[in-house]
């Protein structure tokens, strides 16, 4: 049993605690320690990513066997999300240091590491209640990061964000308690074994808790009509924090995918035909609303926030089919939209820092920023040659129905219009001398663009890998076997 599986959770927790005690060492030490720790996390995630190809591996906390102890499970999906999270976090952290965001408030680096700990734990855990705990860890760190730098409007947006998520957490607990009262277990693999054996009388309770769980994941993933927190929060949050949050909404999609394939698979009689048909319309409306929001956004940051909303709509649209092909497409689009969304947030933040807005009197921006915006817009709208085009193509191919095609194509067109309008308002109309753009601030956006280019050039191998991941998700026996559960007693 490899102890490395716990490292993505323990390492940031330890470093964050050290940072809290070593606050008097100054910003240089905090920056160095966080960068080094984050780089180590990327290396660990890469090693786990390579190890996960051999099949799911289980790490027992305290060596208690499942389902009594809590287990962490490393499979291809969790390894992919770990790698995506840690790599994105490292790149965005570089930008936070280059723009000086990290010293505009206190305890930025410790909160950043706690956020990583929560995200990594949520992707790794194989226990439903432990998933709730890691949700809370990442949320409480995100509350701190969201109001980093202070200011009245940011604090109040933060207040709304916390209130919405507290209600979401309460719903999560109601759902988990219902599941436990019926099945007597919260280990996800054990649930997958026990749910098909349930007596008829308990079906109604399980259906209620399945819908409650999906509601919670929809709050995290900002699906309409539970999306109201996202535009205000992401637009008010510091740009670098919003760029990290690009992966936080994906936690909702990850959890919905995990529960929708492992615990409530499409062929489970209790919840058959329940989850997908509920998710699809919500996802399509989310996509449409995000695109309209891009068109109507009143600031660059709000534009990036609505682009994040639209990307969640696309991801959930593909997820809701729960077929291997659609899941592979959803995963590809998840990776793409995380990178593209983070890039757009970074560009919007650079523009906002120079006082740019859509109205008259906006200052002239440097040409380098215009080029970055162009690339971010191409990636966001899903135009060739970047990976957004391929991602949307895969989603369309996997969903041969009229409604998703119409909404995705129309929403892409609206997003394109909105992004062109924003680009011309920001970069063509203003006059006067342009503010400088330090080369250090181009490093992180450049790395994100390199990631998008790599995802485009290596689309073939990436798609093969993701197809294997989707196939493993839809045939979860290996995941269940890895948990080494005691033999079931039967109904």
């Amino acid at each position: 049993m490899s102890h490395w599986i716990i490292a993505p959770v323990v390492l940031p927790a330890f470093l964050a605690a050290v940072l809290l005690f070593a606050a008097r060492l100054g910003n240089g030490a905090a920056r160095g320690l966080t960068l080094a720790g984050n780089a180590a996390l990327v290396a660990i995630a890469l090693a786990l990513f390579l190890a996960a190809a051999e099949g799911p591996q289980v790490y027992r906390l305290g060596d208690w066997p499942a389902p009594f102890g809590i287990v962490l499970v490393l499979d291809r999906l969790s390894a992919l999300m770990l790698l995506l999270t840690t790599a994105l976090s490292l790149v965005v952290l570089v930008q936070a240091i280059a723009t000086g965001w990290d010293v505009r408030g206190r305890k930025f680096h410790a909160l950043w590491l706690f956020q990583l700990m929560g995200l990594n734990g949520a992707f790794l855990t194989g226990d439903a209640f432990n998933l709730f705990v890691f949700f809370e860890v990442l949320l409480i760190a995100s509350y701190g990061l969201m109001v980093h730098g202070g200011g009245g409007p940011r604090l109040r947006a933060g207040l709304q964000y916390v209130a919405v998520n507290l209600v979401g957490s309460t719903l999560f607990l109601f759902a988990l308690a219902t599941v436990y009262s019926v099945t007597g277990t919260l280990n996800m693999a054990d649930l997958a074994v026990k749910l098909p054996l349930l007596p008829e009388g308990d079906h109604a309770l399980i259906r209620v808790s399945a819908v409650l769980l999906m509601l919670v994941f929809a709050v995290k993933g900002a699906l309409v009509p539970l999306h109201f927190w996202l535009p205000g929060t992401y637009a008010a949050a510091p740009g670098v924090v919003a760029a990290l949050f690009a992966v936080m909404t994906k936690v909702g999609a990850y959890a919905a995918l995990r529960f929708g394939t492992l615990v409530f698979p499409p062929d489970l009689a209790v919840t058959a035909g329940l989850i997908g048909p509920l998710l699809l319309p919500a996802a399509l409306v989310t996509l449409a609303l995000g695109a309209i929001g891009i068109l109507g956004a009143r600031s660059p940051a709000a534009l990036a926030a609505y682009a994040a909303l639209a990307s969640m709509g696309t991801v959930f649209t593909a997820l809701s089919a729960f077929t291997p092909q659609a899941t592979a497409a959803a995963l590809y689009y998840t990776v793409h939209s995380t990178l593209a969304g983070a890039l757009l947030f970074l560009v919007a933040d650079l523009a906002r820092d120079r006082g740019a807005h859509f109205g008259p009197g906006s200052p002239r921006l440097p040409g380098g920023l215009a080029a970055l915006f162009l690339i971010a817009a191409i990636a966001t709208a899903g135009l060739p040659p970047l990976s957004g085009f391929l991602g949307k193509l895969m989603v369309l191919q996997a969903l041969p129905q009229a409604a998703p095609w119409a909404v995705i194509l129309l929403a892409s067109f609206l997003a394109l219009l909105g992004l062109s309008r924003a680009g011309s308002a920001l970069f063509w109309k203003p006059q006067g001398p342009a503010a400088p753009l330090p080369a250090a601030q181009l490093l992180a956006p450049g790395l994100l663009i390199a990631g998008l280019a790599a995802l485009t050039l290596l689309a073939g191998p990436a798609h093969d890998w993701l197809s294997a991941t989707a196939a493993a998700l839809h045939a979860p026996q290996a995941y269940i076997d890895a948990n080494a559960l005691p033999p079931a007693k039967g109904p």
Partner: protein
């Protein structure tokens, strides 16, 4: 006993939802607290209600399920911490803005 607990959970939830929908941050926080009380009782009840049973095997004839008690303890600690955070943020936004309304100003989208 079941009916009593069920009514209590229902009442707490109803009060919590009503207060959460209020306009000012203080009632909203109180509402969230009521919701967390309701869910704590609910988790506790998920382990079945028994009187005189201990959560330790061997001390009583029919032990009660210890896991929901552990779960509810975790949930209480987390909701307590979260409440502290939201109270601090509410105070911060009240001091910065001079009012404690939860909804955004009309002109805020243009910032």
């Amino acid at each position: 006993m079941e009916a009593l607990i069920a009514i209590a959970i229902g009442l707490f939830t109803a009060v919590g939802i009503y207060l959460t929908l209020r306009l000012r941050s203080f009632p909203v926080i109180l509402g969230l607290t009521f919701l967390s009380y309701a869910v704590n009782l609910f988790i506790f009840a998920a382990g079945r209600l028994k009187t005189g049973a201990e959560p330790i095997v061997g001390t009583t004839e029919l032990p009660t399920d210890p896991l929901p008690q552990a779960l509810v303890l975790t949930a209480i600690v987390i909701s307590f911490g979260m409440t502290a955070v939201i109270v601090m943020m509410a105070i911060g936004s009240y001091l910065e803005l001079g009012h404690d309304r939860v909804d955004p100003d009309r002109d805020e989208g243009a910032q």
